[in-house]
Homo-oligomer: 196 residues x 4
DNA sequence: CATGAATGAGTCTTCATTCAT
DNA sequence: TATGAATGAAGACTCATTCAT
């Protein structure tokens, strides 16, 4: 009866405020992490009173969810498979883009990971993200195998999982833009026939 | 601010209490995570009263730190380089042991990761752990290269980082004991000359 | 403090809106009680926007006050003294009508009682209601005594108070339409001479 | 896991504090009502910090519940049936005691009524209280009927309900100690044979 | 050493009311 | 008039940490 519905802004002013909140929230989350961020910080960052946050969002989790929603699609879009002709180029390209995308969103992803410790929703978000990406990579591997460009004896799904883990882990812990080693390892692991 | 120094128990009874606390704390942390664990839960799990925890530890973080300390050494010990004669066997062996060790300590490691979000100390712990392991792997790779068993053109440090990331990520997200694919990928990536 | 004066709507549209608000408010109050009702709920029930409520009413209390105003007169009107010739019939008739009226308005009266805990205005409303009704009953008793139909030794005011309390309490707690016992008790208490 | 159990004090100091809280709470509730009472007020009245209230009680409702628990038994005890030989005396006696008990606890009962609007637990408390008392009165009426001292044609349960409602309502609205009228009405309603 | 009581800073959240459009 | 956004006072509750016994 007396709910506090996640309101969708009806006017322009409302839309602007909501945007300001999302953008402010993202900044603050990225700077302070999820747990350390106070609803008040979000309001302040958006230039509103703290009550206004609750006009558009129910809880801190909802805010993060909305922030993430905006980012997820954009993130997945930037991870589309490469169309380079050479397999190794494709891999290099894919890794480069992954590392770039990761670098751009690293801080927010960390926030989501943090939030995942106390809210399963975010676990799911991450699982989805990984699973989508891994599936794409598995498909790419299958394609390479069909073309005879990659070792046929590899399990595509497991390989994809492992290789994605490698890139993600590398991106996370070394945030280097050095993807040469990465590409080489990947290519050799898959037994890519290189043009030379 | 903090009055009582972290005390090392002098009496037998004290030693026993401290052990109970550590063991209880580990259970509770693993079950509930760091943030969700109350000092009270730790005391209860250890069968002591609330205040006793502070006889041995200064803060919740200190408790986790002590728990972790116990585990770290044990963990690193179980990750010593293999002594198998065949390179691929060495890799398989190492991966198997890594996955086993990870599985055994996964929950606690997650707790440390969670705590790392609010306390840099734990970030450091994880970094150390990874770095120690990666160094060892890098050394192993260098050895293989010296023996002519692995591709000489690979950067040992970067490769080690990437391959460790792969195993860690695989262990984390897929907690499978399927290490065949992992070993194959690793071996091929390194260009291991297989005995056949 | 309160800027806008309680306005009487001047246009037709205004009158309709005000009616909708009152009717919606009554429903919501009766369903949820006073404290649990949000201004928002009232607006929603009336099909208006949030802010519109304040065009017609100053506070939540004002809304209830207006709702009650409408009901009070109607309620008192339905409790006019009976004109049946036989005293016992008159009593039975009066009780029946009281119970019926109570049943019809019970929920709203409960709301008023609830509001009375935090706003003396509503205490006064209830006191008035009771006092009006009790006075009428006292007058009726005096009439009966004058006619020699009721025991002359009873204090009319006190008896009326007690008997009204009985009917009200019965209505409140037992919401039965069984008024036989009630009528009998009442008649015997007053020593009504029965026709037989 | 991380519950905040309604703790029973184990030490004397704890017992004293809990008592202080209950007694302070009762005062404050009676003075300000349930809704207007802040946890802080209770703490202050008990001379503790507000956190201490939560050492012993979970919510404001729990505090009231504990306060009421203490009173209920005492209240029911003081409403035991009279042992006077004369029926009318018994009634007078019972009413006198009821009015006295009511007067003593009136304020707290009002608080319970207030709380009942938002918490069904308290509705139940009141229902129980009434029902216990009404049952006793019904039993008393049956006894009188068996002795031939009261009209045999009355339904004891319904009569008890009505008469209890009368006394309660009278006590509530007129808090007079004038119980003469009450006793007379009651006696006549029941057709008590008076000794004269 | 152990116990359990006491503390209070820190946050989220609600919602009546005001205000700009 | 009507709308819907904005405000912010107010209060409940948690829990790490301190302290008296």
């Amino acid at each position: 009866m007396s709910a506090a519905p996640e309101r969708t802004p009806l006017t322009d002013r409302g839309r602007r405020t909501r945007e300001a909140l999302l953008s402010g929230a993202r900044s603050v989350f990225e700077e302070q992490g999820f747990g350390a961020t106070r609803m008040n910080d979000i309001a302040t960052a958006a230039g509103t009173s703290h009550g206004t946050v609750y006009t558009y969002f129910q809880t801190k989790e909802s805010v993060l969810e909305a922030v993430v929603q905006q980012v997820i699609d954009e993130l997945l879009a930037s991870l589309q498979a490469s169309t380079a002709p050479d397999p190794t180029e494709r891999v290099r390209d894919a890794n480069a883009r992954y590392l770039a995308a990761y670098a751009e969103h690293a801080r927010l992803l960390r926030v989501v990971e943090e939030a995942a410790f106390s809210d399963a929703r975010f676990d799911e978000v991450l699982r989805q993200l990984r699973s989508t990406h891994t599936s794409r990579v598995a498909a790419a591997i299958r394609r390479l195998q069909a073309e005879g460009a990659a070792s046929a004896d590899l399990d595509p799904a497991a390989s994809a999982a492992a290789l994605c883990a490698m890139v993600e882990g590398f991106a996370r812990h070394h945030r280097a833009d050095d993807h040469d080693t990465l590409t080489t390892l990947w290519a050799r692991a898959l037994g890519l026939s290189t043009k030379e």
